[in-house]
Amino acid sequence: MRRWIGPLAFGLIVALAAGYAAIAAIPYGMMKIAMDRLGRGGINQMSQGPLATPARQPVVRPSPDLAYSSCPFDLAAGPLEIMVVPVPGRYSSLSIFDAATDVAFVRNDVEAGGKPYRIIVAREGQVVPPGAEVVRVGHDRGIALIRLLLKNPAEIGSLDAIRRQSTCRTVTKSK
């Protein structure tokens, strides 16, 4: 039995290390899955998803009261420009999540004064357009998500045209 003391201690250390590594890796893995599911409209492009139903649930615990527009992004080719057009008198928010699932930025329609606004998402050191409002993130990849609250699902028909005015794209020129 004494010959197992060393291996068992080794196994315990391995278990702790594997557990810690797995817990640290889970957010990145879940984010990659979400980006793959939400990114079917393309990376660095805003996709206006249909309302969540049992047949369409790209992420766990989706809200059936929200119209989600998503922009999975990759900053490898340059900063990302997000243009947001709020729907008057209706809760909406832009949130930017990095690859670790951390929130880098949130702004709702009230904070925006109900007016359209522009955000540049960039890594440290990336050149950004002068005068732009910039959100610096620590990872190339992530998801920008716009939530628009509906009083009932039927409203999506009348609000869809406005929400489609929100866009995202890679900035190719820093002006």
Binding site: F10, A15, A24, V60, V103
Partner: protein, 191 residues
């Protein structure tokens, strides 16, 4: 058995135990938040950089892309007021005063956090869809079948279910003292 055989066995076993333990520890979801208020639980750490790795992993598995508390408070209930697991075969009365938030909704999910099909295509109620009575309270029946009158939120027949309460732009009082906030009561009426 040679010495390296023993180390190889414990290496494989250690990896398996570590990965399994990590998966088990992170499956509690939003319901294992640190703040409790009756049957509801939440955490003020969701969606922030200050969140510890374990909470971050739990949220990634059960509430990916969750907003920080200033923007939205996510409460989850898995039990009724008596502590019994929410059962899709039973009838519950969900009721309360208007909540201290710009907007709120309650959504029914299965135990894994997904919407489940029902004939009415209803999965949530919100502050705009529930009328107030003479006492300024709202009431919703959660049951597998539509009640004779009043607001209805279909349960998930034959399964346990979870409720998620979202409070968008919660009031400062709720954020300062979430465990004492007035939240909806969940009372079982029968099965």
């Amino acid at each position: 058995m040679k010495s390296w055989h023993r180390y190889a066995i414990t290496l494989v076993g250690g990896i398996a135990v570590g990965l399994g333990g990590a998966w088990g520890l992170t499956r509690g979801g939003l319901g294992d938040g640190a703040i409790r208020n009756g049957p509801w639980t939440t955490s003020l750490g969701y969606g922030t950089k200050a969140t510890d790795p374990l909470t971050r992993a739990m949220v990634a598995r059960s509430g990916l892309l969750a907003l920080p508390a200033k923007e939205t408070l996510y409460w989850m209930a898995r039990t009724d007021a008596s502590g019994a697991r929410l059962d899709g075969n039973c009838r519950y009365r969900l009721s309360g005063k208007p909540l201290d938030a710009r907007w709120w909704s309650v959504t029914v999910y299965d135990a894994k956090g997904y919407l489940v099909a029902n004939a009415a295509n209803i999965w949530s109620v919100n502050g705009a869809s529930v009328p107030l009575d003479d006492k300024g309270e709202w009431h919703v029946t959660i049951a597998p079948d539509r009640p004779a009158d009043g607001a209805w939120l279909p349960g998930i027949k034959g399964q346990p279910f979870d409720l998620t309460l979202r409070m968008y732009n919660p009031g400062a009082g709720v954020r300062a003292g979430p465990s004492a906030a007035a939240l909806p009561a969940i009372v079982k009426e029968g099965c």
